[in-house]
């Protein structure tokens, strides 16, 4: 599979080379505003999409977006931090139910029925916060120990959420919860994807992001170079769960009917497949993985129930042949903050070299020896 993907990647970068060159030749202020301009441009397209895309394609785009949010956030825990969470759908469920309860019961009861479409982002936020809060309950005890504990705890968590939802009759029990308006549009999903990627990128390239990576590499060494590993783990887990909650709210307001079965282990597994397909430790990979997998499942619709075999099977093959996924540990350039790009680091290095004093450590002869 590695051999299969390399020529595709090479061809892609060759095809994009002239574009890159053209971009690099632009004056700095233009380059500075290219990204924001593109984001606004695509927002306008997303806003206008109902006029030129039929409902089916709109729905696929929305699912792609929701899956990007799920995948990127789970990648934070499983890819960047190297822990193994298998209960992402549990947090999605919390977000979905809480956001739905807000738009169906709470807001109308406060006499805000006409304003529900405008209050939709608030409902999503409350759903996300609820998911983040519940994740604290998991994070605090399970991060006391090291190792594979989290996998077991999150597996149990996913099952508990599902059976609690099945047994609370007030929110429909196994029959599910309905009455949501169709508030999720391509434009809204686009906005939330951009927010998610922006915030996750900021986290990944911060002190906490580097702390997260160091936990994956060597947790004991991390704490011995002053990384507060417990704080980092809990932060990362809560942020990831928050976005799972947001994705849940968006999901509930597109299919307008949620039931506990929508958030079973199968949903968590699907998210895992997208993470490992796209590539661990890569936001670009999460975007790619979620897009490829969602579209693939749509294309395989004629296979009916059998298409659900594809996901787990893909996971098995990925783990064997390409455990780091398509983009494992690499990042698209536009997702790297400008000040972190290699050439900027090199320039800074030259500047430091020029101003440094005479005090330099005895040189090392660079010779490899083992």
């Amino acid at each position: 599979m590695t051999q299969l993907l390399t020529p595709i990647r090479n061809a892609l970068s060759r095809a994009l080379a002239p574009l890159h060159a053209a971009y690099a030749s632009l004056p700095a202020p233009v380059r500075r505003w290219t990204m924001p301009a593109l984001l606004v441009f695509f927002f306008v397209i997303a806003l206008l999409s109902p006029s030129f895309l039929n409902l089916y394609w709109q729905q696929i785009l929305i699912y792609v977006g929701i899956n990007i949010i799920l995948t990127a956030s789970l990648n934070l825990v499983n890819g960047y931090m190297g822990e193994f969470s298998v209960g992402h759908a549990g947090f999605m469920a919390v977000g979905a139910y809480v956001a739905s309860i807000m738009t169906v019961w709470v807001f109308p009861r406060w006499g805000l029925r006409e304003y529900v479409p405008y209050l939709f982002p608030l409902a999503l936020l409350i759903g996300g916060l609820a998911a983040g809060l519940t994740s604290l309950i998991i994070a605090v005890p399970s991060f006391r120990t090291r190792g594979d504990y989290l996998a077991i705890v999150t597996l149990a968590w996913n099952m508990i959420v599902k059976s609690v939802l099945e047994n609370v009759d007030a929110i429909g029990g196994p029959r599910g919860f309905m009455g949501m308006q169709k508030l999720t549009s391509v434009a809204w999903v686009y906005v939330w994807v951009v927010i998610t990627i922006f915030i996750l990128r900021n986290l990944v390239y911060s002190n906490f992001g580097r702390g997260t990576l160091s936990i994956r590499e060597d947790e004991i060494a991390a704490s011995l170079v002053s990384v507060d590993t417990r704080k980092v783990k809990i932060t990362v887990f809560v942020v990831a769960s928050f976005f799972a909650g947001i994705a849940g709210g968006l999901f509930a307001h597109i299919i307008q009917f949620i039931n506990p079965r929508s958030f079973s282990i199968l949903k968590s597994t699907e998210t895992l497949v997208m993470v490992y397909l796209g590539g661990i430790g890569s936001l670009g990979g999460s975007i790619l993985g979620a897009t490829i997998y969602t579209v693939l499942l749509e294309l395989l619709r004629p296979l009916q129930v059998w298409r659900w075999v594809i996901g787990p099977l893909l996971l098995v093959f990925l783990m064997i042949f390409r455990p780091r996924g398509i983009m494992g540990m690499r990042e698209w350039r536009f997702l790297i903050p400008p000040e972190e790009r290699p050439e900027v680091i090199d320039a800074l290095k030259e500047r430091i070299r020029k101003k440094r004093g005479p005090a330099v450590a005895p040189a090392a002869s660079v010779g490899a020896s083992e």
Binding site: L224, I345, K349, V366
Partner: protein, 256 residues
């Protein structure tokens, strides 16, 4: 006042006594060596100081503060840094990130500031990036800043581990067999480097080492451990002629 005071430090692994009644008074600026045969409990002493293990008995005072019961990251941010017997770099991360991770406790901004990329984040990050690069530059590693740590040659990996320890801004540096696996040329460079960082960063150093050349060459005072017990203590010259040390290393003289 001593920088580090260790009183009656004892540690058991199950029934095995790994360290027994270890005492140490370390004055600021000293460079002392701990030697002893394999399994003598040298690394365990480092692990007890840095909070990897909690000692069965005894107390450790750093700069007047008790260390027993504190988490490793708290101890390190108080000013104790260490390197490892087998290199433990963050292998898949860049050289620069290896050093920046060690500035975790010195970089002061909260999670919300990071998530929304507020001015404070940009300021603190710029500072952290610059300080890390300056340190790499001083140690002659700046040209490799963007390299993945595992791609460095062995000698430079050792050097990076020292750079990473220095990035935590320590007052006390614990070096655990820094010369392990090095050839004679690299060992000479290492000895120069240790003496240089000691002056440059005003450090107090404890050195665990098997290479007698290193210990005898740069340490002012040496402690010898055997089966967890301190069997000798003194200047390099005293240690070299101590019969108990010779016995521990070479075995007892047997008359046939």
């Amino acid at each position: 006042m001593p920088l580090l005071q260790i009183r009656g430090l004892t540690h058991y692994f199950g029934g095995l006594r790994a360290v027994s009644n270890f005492n140490l008074d370390l004055e600021p600026g000293e460079l002392i060596g701990i030697i002893g045969p394999n399994g003598a409990g040298k690394t365990t002493v480092f692990n007890l100081i840095t909070g990897v293990y909690r000692p069965t008995e005894g107390e450790i005072l750093f700069n007047g503060h008790h260390l027993v019961g504190k988490r490793s990251d708290q101890i390190v941010s108080m000013g104790i840094a260490r390197t490892f017997q087998t290199i433990r770099l963050f292998r898949d991360l860049s050289v620069l990130d290896n050093v920046r991770i060690a500035r975790f406790a010195r970089t002061r901004y909260g999670v919300p500031v990071a998530l929304f990329r507020l001015p404070k984040y940009l300021r603190e990050e710029a500072k952290s990036r610059e300080q890390a690069l300056e340190l790499l530059d001083l140690l002659g590693l700046a040209d490799q800043a963007n390299w993945v740590a595992s791609s460095l040659p062995y000698g430079l990996q050792r050097r990076l581990e020292i750079a990473r320890a220095l990035a935590t801004e320590p007052r006390l540096l614990l070096l655990d067999e820094p010369a392990a696996g090095m050839n004679p040329g690299e060992i000479a460079e290492l000895m120069e480097l240790i003496q240089w960082i000691r002056r440059q960063f005003d450090l107090t150093i404890i050195l665990i080492e098997h290479q007698m050349r290193v210990v005898m060459g740069i340490c002012e005072r040496i402690k010898v451990l055997d089966f967890g017990e301190t069997i000798a203590e003194g200047t390099p010259a005293e240690i070299q002629n101590n019969p108990r040390v010779i016995e521990a290393y070479l075995g007892e003289e047997v008359v046939v």
